[in-house]
Symmetry: C2
Subunit: 316 residues, 2 copies
């Protein structure tokens, strides 16, 4: 039995772009767009919404910005086939640079924030709501929050007009029991909201933790093709669609797109499970040290890496 | 809080050997042996117990057979550091070739069987018990069993003298809810037995399903270094030890052994998540077609593979 409230959000271009500065070809993005539509996925998160002043256009590809002209080039002349989303980081988008929804191909803007940015995130999200967009707030790095900070953040989010709030396992640190506890807490403290989940695969738990979230009543589910994404990557879309029983989902176009578009990138950039990502996940740390390790010439020196992380966590 | 009844069984050499016909060097096996002992792992499954007549010694390495002289070469002159296990397949070991435990370095013999072999498995396991060994029966491919066959098998196993019965997800087909249901059923139907779990990683769920089993009261846990094993591989030992809170476990020797011994094999043989393994897992099929696909020159033609599996499953 499926739950019709469930929505799947593909983050392939947005989260995968963190690995290659969004240097995906139009062919790649268009194939992902068509495949997701054909597969019955609900939203395609096509990139970040950033102001031109925030990043160098010579260094970063179009999906760092999500300008309307670039979106139109992907959509083409036909009617849009799938809802489009963009993520906005606090401080990287000037409110004046956000067009009204009637002039944009975007349907949803998802605001990512750390706990100290919740007020700014609500302000930005309200601005997007007022411009006509669907909106979420994705509260990151919850695994590092004390109970008081989390309660206060949920309290603020509860009072906001933002209808969808994400539980985000930024560090890939959570086990299923953590997801049970937190999903239940979010649902209890945010009775009027829809809850979403975004997981990372540091401990090979992104997909299973997404399932745990579903069992607990979470309805917005993030995933990417073949798990592409920063570091250990994300919940794997082909696994998620195969798990969901809603007959509108069809995994074949996703498999075809992986074969044609994702495999070539897998030759050029590295993502997925490896010991350094596991170590930062287990230690509940930002993966930046593991990413640096994996990009270094000594990426296989995993014992040294383990020692450096453990010794850097001595009692204080 | 940890559960002292939990035992961890490493299957690196036994299950990993399915990928390379047990052509591991003595250096490899000795390093795994020392690392597991140092890490506090309870058992090392060092190979299969087979009669010389069953396999060609020129084709298969020593851990296809587990002769006493080979075991002794790994243990050396010091006292044995960790309990050793070997797996026995029905029909591949002559009962007369099994030495009494007093003359063997093996502590445990695990009998693997399909449902139609349960009687033969009990007979073999009783023989091993009578020769002094710890014994388990690992009932494979449970995901394909009808309820009557499973009940009858569990009934027979309940009446046996075999103290430990394994729930085996041979095809990597189970979700956490399947593990919940089956683990509870095994515990209920086998009230005097200890239950074990052996998972495969076709859907990236081997580790999380092992956690689900633990939560349900399963106490014997199989894993391998870096998940090495046939096809999509197994539950990853470094993840499992990091999850378990028993202070006797120490993950560092495992990481060192992965760096020194497993990484070189990862250059030569392929295991871990890939779309063909996912497809056979989702379809609840033996991975043999996926393994053939991954070993072929067309391993990246995953859409064709998907079609062949789905078209081969039309309504009959």
């Amino acid at each position: 039995m499926y739950r019709p409230e469930i929505k799947v959000i593909d983050c392939t271009v947005r989260d995968g772009g963190l690995m290659n500065k969004w240097q995906f070809s139009d062919k790649f993005v268009r194939h992902v767009y068509n495949a997701l539509a054909e597969a019955g996925v609900d939203y395609m998160e096509i990139g970040y919404l950033s102001s031109e002043s925030a990043f160098d256009k010579n260094e970063y590809g179009p999906w760092r910005f999500c300008f309307e002209k670039d979106l139109q080039r992907i959509i083409g002349k036909e009617e849009k086939k799938i809802k489009l989303s963009a993520m906005a980081d606090i401080g990287r988008i000037d409110l004046n640079d956000i067009p009204p929804r009637s002039e944009s191909s975007l349907d949803m803007i998802r605001v990512a924030c750390y706990v100290h940015q919740v007020d700014a995130a609500i302000e930005l999200a309200h601005h997007c709501i007022d411009k006509g967009y669907e909106t979420t707030i994705n509260l990151m790095a919850v695994s590092t929050l004390g109970i008081r900070d989390l309660n206060e953040a949920l309290n603020d989010l509860d009072k906001s007009r933002v209808p969808i709030i994400y539980l985000v396992d930024s560090f890939g640190a959570f086990y299923s029991e953590d997801i049970d506890t937190l999903a239940q807490k979010y649902i209890e403290r945010l009775p009027e909201k829809t809850i979403g989940i975004h997981c990372h695969n540091n401990q090979q738990l992104a997909f299973s933790n997404t399932i745990s979230a579903i069992i607990n009543g979470v309805n917005y589910l993030d995933a990417t093709l073949y798990g592409i994404g920063r570091g250990a990557g994300n919940c794997t879309l082909e696994l998620l669609l195969s798990f969901l029983k809603n007959p509108k989902f069809n995994v074949r176009p996703i498999i075809k797109c992986i074969e044609d578009e994702v495999f070539p990138w897998a030759e050029k950039i590295d993502w997925g499970y490896s010991v350094p990502y596991m170590v930062t996940g287990v230690m509940n740390q930002h993966p930046r040290t593991a990413i640096a390790q994996m990009e270094s010439e000594n990426k296989n020196n995993i014992t040294e890496f383990y020692d450096s992380v453990v010794n850097g966590s001595e009692s204080v």
